[in-house]
């Protein structure tokens, strides 16, 4: 292994176990603990990817979990992040953005025609001629994008998990660890999150060779580990900050949604590259990247290094290389850095060039040397590593997302948080604190303050530990006449591209971003935004603060869709009779959250099966599960008053033992629910709602009880009660065998309700019309429902009883002209339009929506009508929601339609303009295929208009009791 170093004191690799994988078809071996990038680099493979636009060779740049052009294609997923994902045995990886191979990429030709592809070219180039666009589109799609998604991959959903703590600390470097400890010492629950597999942060790569930090390291790490109220979450990053200190944390196993009372952001700073010609040659990298390579993976960044720096950190990196026996040819200081590490570097014999400018990297396939000027004198040094340490930008995403304000600090030449939202704290380098001891103290005070916020205590005024000298060069940018000075390595943005964008008027930071695409690549500007801001500020003559910064939105890193999707919780309700339906192989359909039998396949086709069910009900008897109806108990002194106020009809004058249709409108007069109400006693009603409104109707009624101050209780018993409807001319004969109740017309007339034992079980029986035949609705406790159902089926077998499903029910009810709230009515339909003026008792002193209905009664301009289709051809069958057209204008739509075998015609309901609602009016229905078919308005009910069949041999008008 060409660049592997001797064991390092804190290395993350396990030298006893090796791993082997293939990269671009070649075998690569490394150690367990290596990330893919470090294993490649250790073997001297310095080209890990090709750039996005020009397909230039790229090596490591930031090596800080957002590396550029180090995205790889694995067999089972695209865009594996090579600087994050650990190397594993058997991996087979290729670079994502090549035509051919990484070594020989035909895409590199783009670089030669690059001058014809100016910034923003695709916004401008392809408008005309228009007919060529599909060609261009194909080409662009081929060229753009990273990685390939295999659409044969199976669905993958990662679980998510909720977590609650008092203080969350983002970043487990020295200040983050100190913050976590300080907060935990106050007795609150702390979560400490770091994106690396181990805590320690820069303490373990910037200070790895400094004896003075051994005590700090031992204290911080051991205390974090030992405190029971600190939960450490590693290999995980905060993908987004949301309101009320709610964090999305991406872990390898899935998303954690964490709720905290206070947040300490100790996420540190991103090292920023310098901008000069060929700064992207493999071998040019950030100094902190080199330090991570060495400290974590014992991999040398190069053999002969030149350091380009503007701060003590660069000198410290030089000393780290020196200590590892690597040649440091020179330190190029863009200014005159002072400090202990400068003295040490000089005494180690490393040549230092101060005030170095006009840096340029040289080399063809990778770095071979560097030229620069000092005092107008040009120098050239050969080297295979150029390490940049010229400045830092805040890793501020959580702070920005929380609403913090940043301001530019001219002492530090860095953006610092200047205004933090309540409960949000910052510490460490993101706060401008650079001395290691100060960072720990800054962390301690932030952690303490966060805990005290949680505990409701007054926090002390913070001590200012901000560094007193700059750690960033204000303008580490050297334009070159021949270009190729990259500002954004993700998107191959050069200085001239930004100049071009500004020249064309995109001189606002957000506009420049979108036009040039700076900061829009996979690293989302982590390595490029700051330099972009500096360039824009300089070219427009503004300050950094005036220039501003782009918005840092979630996600912080590319987050897999499987994490965002999470598990699917889709509640599904089964009725108490579900096991019967299953035994009968019912075809189920979704009705709200319920599964209901659509039909029971007894014949060869769906239509034939449904027809058999309909025929059974019309000619003998059928049984349907209506347990999905909403069921509410209403009881208490004011029960009658409540019923009157809720429903459009008068309810308080119902007799005990009677039932009545119950229609509810909202305050605007729109129909929102219908059902059947029965009266158990003077103070006790029981009312059903439609399947889909049980929750919302219950909610509304509870609210109205409060508003109206009534002494009444409402209970939602929907899931606790099973219900079925026994319908057909033979229904009474069957029921008579299962109950002692007198079922005669006189004793139990149409629309009456009786409570009785059925099959030895307490049940409520209601004689409703429902499908227009003699019928009984039976309600009983959910545990007993199956017993009654099974007995009815057994007794009914001699009459050829059939269970029927939703489709048969809809057809049967359509034949009777019954509406379905939510299908035949929409979000604006009032009872007059629904052709149910009889259901509105405007003489009542008060009911929900009454003033609206009084007005609407005078404004009606559409009406629900019944129609029959004038064609019987199958191809002429309209669909629900097909439009009615008259003289080219829409006059209505079909709301329900069905082919009635009973009546031998196609019937339906349509909402039409009132002018077209007269009987025998011919309506033109526009079919989905554009043809028209005629229908004729006819009276409803279509079937048994006098309603004789639902109350055979009865002369009285029901509801007696």
């Amino acid at each position: 292994m060409k660049l592997r170093l001797a064991p390092q004191p804190l290395e993350w690799i396990d030298r006893k176990s090796s791993v082997s994988f293939t990269f671009e078809g070649q075998t690569v071996s490394g150690f367990k603990g290596d990330v893919i990038s470090s294993a490649l680099w250790a073997q001297g493979r310095k080209v890990v990817g090709r750039s996005f636009k020009y397909h230039r060779r790229r090596g490591l740049l930031s090596f800080a979990n957002h590396d550029i052009n180090a995205l790889l294609q694995a067999e089972d997923r695209p865009n594996v992040r090579a600087d994050v994902v650990q190397a594993e045995d058997g991996m087979s990886l290729t670079a994502v953005n090549t035509f051919g191979s990484l070594a020989s990429d035909k895409g590199a030709l783009v670089e030669w025609i690059g001058k014809f592809l100016p910034v923003g070219f695709y916004y401008r180039a392809f408008y005309s001629p228009k007919f060529l666009f599909p060609k261009w589109e194909r080409l662009i799609r081929e060229m753009a994008g990273l990685g390939k998604v295999n659409t044969d991959w199976s669905e993958e959903r990662k679980p998510k998990r909720y977590l609650h703590c008092d203080v969350v600390v983002i970043g487990a470097g020295p200040s983050g660890m100190a913050a976590a400890i300080a907060a935990a010492k106050q007795g609150v629950d702390v979560c400490l999150i770091d994106e690396n597999p181990y805590i320690g942060g820069s303490l373990d790569y910037q200070y790895v060779n400094e004896d003075s930090q051994q005590l700090n390291r031992k204290y911080l790490k051991e205390t974090v580990e030992s405190m029971p109220n600190i939960q450490v979450i590693t290999s995980s990053y905060v993908a987004g900050y949301y309101g009320d200190h709610w964090l999305g944390i991406n872990t390898p196993d899935g998303l954690i949604k964490l709720s905290a009372q206070a947040v300490v952001v100790a996420s540190g700073v991103f090292e920023q590259p310098a901008v000069f010609r060929n700064n992207d040659l493999p071998g040019v990298m950030n100094a902190s990247a080199a330090q991570r390579l060495m400290a974590r993976y014992a991999v040398a960044p190069c053999k002969e290094a030149v350091i380009l720096t503007a701060n003590p950190e660069g000198y410290r990196a030089a000393l780290d290389l020196h200590k590892n026996g690597l040649v440091v040819k020179a330190i190029l200081d863009t200014g005159k850095t002072a400090g202990e590490s400068v003295v040490q570097a000089k005494s180690a014999g490393i040549p230092v060039f101060e005030n170095a400018v006009l840096v340029e990297a040289t080399g063809r396939k990778q770095l071979q040397g560097v030229t620069f000027e000092v005092g107008r004198l040009q120098h050239h040094l050969s080297c295979d590593g150029l390490l940049m340490s010229v400045g830092w930008a805040p890793a501020g995403a959580p702070l920005y997302q929380a609403g913090a304000k940043f301001g530019y600090n001219y002492t530090l030449e860095q953006l610092l948080p200047v205004e933090l939202p309540e409960g949000v704290f910052a510490c460490g380098r993101i706060n401008g604190v650079f001395e290691i001891e100060d960072r720990i103290k800054d962390g301690e005070q932030a952690g303490t303050a966060a805990a005290q916020t949680v505990l409701g205590k007054e926090a002390l005024a913070p001590v200012d530990y901000t560094a007193k000298s700059a750690h960033s060069d204000p303008y580490p940018i050297w334009p070159h006449p021949k270009g190729k000075e990259f500002v954004d390595f993700d998107e191959d943005i050069q200085i001239k591209d930004l100049k071009g964008a500004i020249a064309q008027g995109f001189d606002n930071i957000e506009l420049m971003k979108r036009f040039s695409t700076i900061g829009m690549g996979p690293s989302q500007g982590k390595h490029s935004n700051m330099n972009g801001i500096r360039i824009l500020a300089k070219l427009t003559g503004k300050t950094i603060d005036q220039t501003g910064s782009t918005t840092a939105r979630p996600m912080f890193h590319p987050t897999p869709v499987s994490h965002l999707a999470g598990m699917r919780f889709r509640p599904e309700r089964l009725t108490p009779l579900h096991s019967f339906h299953q035994q009968r192989n019912a075809c189920f359909m979704e009705a709200g959250s319920w599964l209901r039998p659509e039909y029971y396949p007894t014949a060869e086709t769906r239509e034939a099966s449904i027809a058999e069910e309909v025929s059974a009900v019309r000619n003998s008897v059928g049984l349907i599960d209506v347990s999905t109806l909403g069921k509410l108990e209403v009881f208490g002194r004011d029960a009658g008053e409540l019923m009157d106020r809720l429903y459009t009809m008068r309810m308080s004058n119902m007799n005990v033992g009677a039932s009545r249709y119950a229609l509810m409108v909202d305050e605007t007069g729109v129909v929102i629910d219908d059902g059947v109400a029965v009266r158990y006693s003077e103070e006790h009603f029981y009312v059903t709602t439609t399947t889909s409104t049980s929750d919302s109707a219950y909610r509304l009624i509870q609210k109205k009880v409060i508003e109206w101050g009534l002494k009444v209780t409402v209970l939602n018993r929907t899931g606790q009660i099973g219900a079925m409807n026994l319908a057909g001319p033979n229904s009474r004969k069957i029921l008579a065998q299962l109950t002692d109740l007198d079922l005669s017309n006189d004793a139990f007339p149409y629309l009456a309700m009786r409570r009785a034992q059925v099959c030895g079980v307490e049940a409520t029986l209601i004689r409703v019309g429902f499908v227009g035949e003699l019928g009984y609705e039976i309600h009983t406790d959910s545990q007993s429902a199956l017993k009654i159902w099974a007995s009815i089926m057994e007794v009914g077998s001699e009459y050829g009883i059939k269970p029927f499903g939703v489709e048969a029910q809809r057809l049967l009810r359509l034949e009777k002209g019954h509406i379905i709230v939510g299908q035949d009515t929409d979000g604006l339909t009032n009872p007059f339009e629904a052709n149910m003026p009889w259901s509105v008792h405007l003489k009542k002193p008060y009911f929900l929506g009454k003033p609206s209905l009084m007005k609407l009664k005078t404004l009606q301009n559409r009406t629900l009508v019944g129609f029959e289709l004038l064609s019987k051809a199958h191809k002429d069958m309209p669909l629900e929601s097909n439009l009615l057209i008259e003289n080219g204008a829409m006059i209505g739509r079909v709301t329900s339609i069905g082919r009635s075998a009973t009546l031998n015609k196609v019937i339906g309901l349509a909402m039409v303009e009132t002018a077209f609602s007269e009987e025998n009016q011919v309506l033109k229905i526009k079919l989905t295929d554009g043809r028209f078919v005629d229908a004729k308005v006819i009276k409803t009910p279509f079937y048994d208009p006098q309603g004789l069949l639902q109350k055979p041999d009865e002369s009285n008008e029901g509801e007696a009791a």
Binding site: D244, K703, I706, E707, G709, P845, Y846, P851, S852
Partner: protein, 89 residues
């Protein structure tokens, strides 16, 4: 995710609640003018303000009244919605 601390329930995620509109007294149906009724039914003043709002906690079936600032989305007061609220609105 917003969290709300409610009497008897403790700190609950707002995802357990359903919004029920702002607290408003319904005008007297007998005497209300058409204009006043229309305003009550349709008119919502969207200017930033602190509102009393109905919030329904689904798992317990309890209606709460929250005092919420529509500019900051901060909930400043939480109480049970008690019977006869119309008199207070």
């Amino acid at each position: 995710m917003k969290f709300v601390t409610c009497p008897s329930l403790g700190r609950r995620a707002l995802s357990e609640f359903t919004y029920g509109g702002r607290l408003e007294k319904e005008p007297d149906q007998e005497s209300v003018s058409e204009k006043a009724w229309t305003d009550y039914v349709f008119y919502r003043n969207g200017a930033p303000q602190t509102l009393k709002e109905w919030w329904y906690h689904r798992p317990t079936g309890i209606w709460f009244l929250f005092e919420r600032n529509t500019l900051t989305d901060r909930i400043t007061q939480v109480e049970f919605a008690n019977r006869g609220i119309e008199n207070e609105a």
